[in-house]
């Protein structure tokens, strides 16, 4: 029987890999993929706790997170396309118009 702890550890490691990707990579698309990675690792935590408590609420929450991720990906990628059309780059260091 696999313990709850092992699922949480896998999830924490994957979340942190995603966080490192968000802060170190400069390609907008890869930053976006890292965010998806983080959302997924949180989903794993929710499903693990749902199985541990024998309660369905965690899995319902995962369902909503997935709907949210789909909406977020659609809008975010549209923003990337609009940005690329305007600045001809997807390098985050060059998209600094709102940065002080």
């Amino acid at each position: 029987m696999v313990s709850l702890q092992s699922y949480l550890i896998v999830s924490a490691i994957m979340f942190m890999i995603g966080a490192v990707g968000v802060v170190t990579r400069r390609n907008v698309i890869i930053v976006f993929m890292s965010i998806e990675l983080m959302l997924n690792s949180v989903n794993l935590t929710l499903v693990a706790f749902s199985a541990y408590f024998g309660d369905i609420t965690g899995q319902i929450l995962v369902f909503f997170v997935m709907a949210l991720a789909a909406a977020e990906a659609a809008v975010g990628l549209a923003i990337i396309i609009a940005l690329f059309r305007r600045k001809q780059t997807i390098n985050l260091d060059q998209i600094n118009i709102m940065k002080w």
Partner: protein, 169 residues
């Protein structure tokens, strides 16, 4: 070592290694393919937790719909010989990775302290992950959030079309 534990370790290591590949590869297409592999590993982990519905939705929605969107955008941007986003190891990155590693250690410590010996009783989790159980909960107890989700999706569709239009006026 039962089959269950071996399967868990294979999927867990697969998930972690593909996650590392996603953030370290230079080429976005390669990253996207590793991300798809990562989603499949996660779907397998959901299956080991008896969450069949979530596992299949993971493959349909994430590996199917969202990743197609990503690959499509990479194709649309047509970066040619991928603009060289220099992957040099700057001090900033090392510090960021160091802080992230420290936070990871902290989280692992908390997990170890709080959930040391808890095991998942799959007999209890047996039937909650089926389509029937999730559908029943979704259309009774969680009906209102479900309807609000449709509003969110319509807002996202309108927003995406508006933002990706040629002329933003």
């Amino acid at each position: 070592m039962t089959l269950e534990i071996i399967l868990f370790y294979i999927l867990a290591f697969g998930g972690i290694i593909t996650a590392i590949m996603v953030v370290t590869r230079r080429n976005p297409i390669v990253s996207a393919l590793y991300l798809i592999a990562n989603f499949f590993c996660l779907a397998g982990l959901y299956l080991t937790l008896h969450a069949q519905f979530i596992a299949i939705i993971q493959i349909f929605v994430y590996a199917g719909a969202i990743m197609v969107l990503f690959v499509f955008v990479i194709m649309l941007l047509n970066l040619g010989d991928i603009q060289r986003l220099k992957g040099r190891l700057s001090l900033k990155k090392i510090i960021a990775a160091g802080i992230s590693f420290a936070v990871l250690m902290e989280v692992l410590y908390i997990i170890r302290m709080q959930t040391g010996s808890l095991t998942i009783d799959l007999a209890k989790a047996g039937s909650i992950g089926t389509v029937e159980a999730i559908g029943r909960a979704l259309f009774t107890q969680f009906l209102f959030p479900f309807e609000v989700t449709s509003l969110l999706l319509i807002a996202a569709i309108v927003g995406a079309i508006l933002l990706a239009k040629k002329k933003l006026d």
